[in-house]
């Protein structure tokens, strides 16, 4: 726990320090582009964007606690067919980085040529709360009303792929900016930056131990009393009853990368004959059929690798707690599989690995 690592400290705030650092990276040609959150004055809404012109760095709002699009989804769109042919500095929250690592494992993206800047994450606020707010109104380090999946997130420190970790969530507030330099490349770029001072200090885990304890408590409380805790099929039917079939949860999910979802294929969609048969048997049938099948199917496909980012709930126009249901399921599924998504690009995903001697405790 007491690992000492190289640390860059500046006296200016996070937005200013990062802004200067990114301008420096672009001007020196150390990266071709920066990938970050942006708010253009013309459009006035948050988005993900590449920026290559140092003058446009002003429009970036790095690590503003909003998630209009999950970073991994946007980065998968960038690197899905081939890695970038020039270095790109990529700003991602820990859950976005973990989702991206999962996509890399599924051959949907590449870590090549990316310089990854992440943070100790205080969480993001839901889309419904952020609408109409100015970036200046939102606290970077301690936003109010974060997503429920953020309140209960215990992986607030980014994985080993992060070259730099900007300290946002921390047990003790420090003036100025603290950036952990996790790789040699990060140390070099920080040295070239020429601002602040480079020394050694505590790692991300040591700086967030108390925050993590509180998050763990929140998670335990959620698992004990959340929307699906200890309830069966009836509860699931009720929770998904208001589903309008928009599939926004799937489209917003960074891990649902299939071009054509299994639940849209002709082999899975119920045939007219089946609908008629079921209606005749039951007297009445909900149509379009297969609402629960879709959600449980997606849960089956995604829960082993779900990073609990909460993006699905944000995209749901009728307020179904999709992300909370996925949290409850993924905690037990990942525990059973002994799998921690997004930590190691070399570790095979559980569903693509056959081991004859596993899961003895949950088979007959």
């Amino acid at each position: 726990m007491n690992t000492k690592i190289r640390v860059l400290e500046t006296e200016t705030g996070v937005r200013e320090t990062l802004g200067k650092f990114l301008v420096r990276l672009l001007e020196s040609g150390e990266v071709h582009s920066v990938f970050a959150l942006r708010k253009t004055p013309q459009v006035g809404r948050f988005c993900r964007s590449l920026v290559s012109d140092p003058d446009l760095v002003d429009e970036l709002v790095p690590f503003l606690p909003v998630m209009p699009v999950q970073g991994a989804a946007a980065l998968t769109a960038l690197t899905g067919t081939e890695p970038p042919d020039a270095p790109v500095a990529v700003l991602l929250r820990p859950c976005e980085l973990r989702a991206f690592v999962e996509n890399v494992k599924q051959a949907q993206g590449s870590l090549e040529n990316l310089f990854i800047i992440s943070c100790t994450c205080p969480g993001v606020i839901p889309a419904s709360v952020q609408a109409g707010k100015d970036p200046g109104e939102i606290s970077m380090t301690g936003p109010d009303n974060v997503r429920s999946t953020c309140e209960t997130c215990t992986q607030l420190v980014p994985g080993p792929q992060a070259d730099m970790t900007v300290i946002l969530a921390a047990d003790r507030e420090t003036p100025g900016t603290v950036i952990l330099l996790n790789s040699d490349r990060a140390v070099t770029l920080a040295e070239n930056f020429g601002e602040g001072s480079i020394g050694t200090g505590e790692d991300g885990h040591a700086r967030t131990a108390e925050t993590l304890r509180l998050r763990k408590e929140a998670r335990e409380a959620f698992l004990a009393g959340g929307p699906v805790a200890g309830k069966g099929m009836d509860s699931l039917v009720s929770l998904f009853a208001s589903c309008i079939g928009c599939r926004g949860c799937r489209e917003a999910c960074p891990l649902c990368t299939c071009i054509l979802c299994d639940y849209e294929t002709s082999r899975t969609l119920p045939s007219p004959e089946l609908v008629r048969l079921e209606t005749d048997l039951r007297g009445a049938l909900r149509v379009p059929a297969g609402t629960l099948q879709f959600h449980l199917g997606r849960l089956t496909h995604i829960s082993p690798i779900c990073v609990n980012c909460g993006q699905c709930s944000d995209a749901c126009p009728v307020g179904i707690p999709v992300a909370e249901i996925f949290l409850a399921a993924s905690v037990s599924v990942q525990e059973a599989l002994g799998y921690e998504p997004g930590m190691n690009p070399e570790e095979p995903t559980p569903m693509s690995t056959f081991r004859p001697d596993e899961l003895g405790d949950i088979t007959d």
Binding site: R45, E82, A241, T279, G283, L285, P288
Partner: protein, 343 residues
């Protein structure tokens, strides 16, 4: 009015005029899922007047009636839902064979988000503030389908629209006389009012979002969830053009664009998607407002499509949902048309 409709559904099933009824119902937790019913005892779950539109009725119908279903179906839905079904039939996504469409003087629908928050009043055409923006300017609020329930200007009464609607009423021994004068008066007054509201609404949209900059601002908050497309009854493609693999740009293209313009939004193609969707479906748009209701970013996407659809349809003298026999303009080649758009 609910009882009148329920009674007709019951008689239709009992007499064998229909083997199945498709209707919204009361589901758990204040929801209104569509159900396909053939057991008369389960008809008490039917709620033909839900305050919201959870799923567009044509979409519910298309989920099982793409090919002949093997039984007669009485589909009880709103006028815009029956009109969307007409469009889907021309696109070979719904068979009209053995389906009767029963509609009503539509009270409109409240936004699904207001409904979920409990912040709504029952829809009432006389109180436009209670309705979804596109319902407030809807000019096709009655007279759709094979028959409809007239609610205004006297006690509720069924009115035939098509020959098969008339036949259905006659088989059930119901009157099919003339429209009553009070109802015609009500319809004409609301139509005048709605036409005005629509004109104002369209002008607002045009003023606020004119030009490419306006469109960029309108769709700037798009999170690419594609809810608008998925809930749209007309967007039936299993795999949308925008999601096809060959539409993906390699990283080098993105970096090049970013280098040229200073920056490049990711995922890209937001405007391409929305404008492409309009190009594909706007002629068949029935202005049901489902897309706008489903948008988690509150983009007035339905009002935009509806405005564009009015313009494109006018070019071809086409009206979505009017007549199953009216050919789709984009499926029809006329050697001698659209000269005013040529160079």
């Amino acid at each position: 009015m609910r009882d009148v409709l329920l009674n007709l559904m019951l008689r239709a099933l009992e007499s064998g005029v229909a083997d199945y009824v498709l209707t919204p119902s009361r589901g758990p937790g204040g929801t209104f899922p569509w159900i396909l019913v053939n057991d008369v005892r389960l008809l008490d779950r039917a709620e033909p007047f839900p305050p919201v539109m959870y799923v567009q009725g044509a979409k519910a119908l298309a989920s099982f009636a793409r090919s002949p279903f093997g039984g007669k179906v009485l589909a009880v839905m709103r006028p815009c839902e029956a009109r969307a079904a007409v469009e889907l039939s021309k696109l070979d996504q719904v068979t009209m064979q053995n389906v009767y469409f029963l509609t009503m003087d539509c009270p409109g629908a409240v936004p699904v988000k207001s409904y979920r928050n409990g912040d709504f009043t029952e829809p009432d055409p006389g109180e436009p503030e209670s309705l979804r923006p596109l319902c407030r300017q809807c000019t096709h609020f009655t007279g759709a389908g094979d028959l409809f329930l007239a609610l205004h200007g006297g006690p509720p009464v069924f009115r035939p629209v098509t020959g098969s609607g008339r036949e259905l009423l006659e088989t059930l021994g119901m009157e099919t006389g003339e429209d009553r004068a009070e109802w015609v008066e009500w319809r004409d007054a609301l139509l005048r009012h709605r036409k005005e509201a629509r004109k104002r609404g369209m002008e607002d949209m045009r003023r606020s979002y004119t030009g490419l900059g306006g469109l960029a601002r309108l769709y700037g908050g798009c999170i690419s969830c594609r809810n608008c497309r998925t809930v749209c009854p007309i967007c039936y493609c299993r795999l949308c053009f925008i999601d096809m693999k060959d539409r993906r740009s390699p990283a080098s293209d993105h970096l090049h664009r970013s280098g040229e313009r200073g920056g490049d939004r990711l995922p890209g193609g937001t405007l391409l998607f929305h404008m492409g969707r309009m190009a594909h479906m706007s002629l068949s748009c029935v202005s049901c407002g489902m897309c706008e209701d489903a948008c988690p970013s509150d983009i007035p996407v339905g009002r935009m499509v509806s405005m564009v659809s009015e313009k494109t349809a006018a070019v071809f003298g086409y009206e979505a949902g009017r007549d199953t026999e009216e050919p789709l303009p984009l499926n029809t080649f006329e050697p001698d048309e659209l000269h005013e758009y040529e160079d």
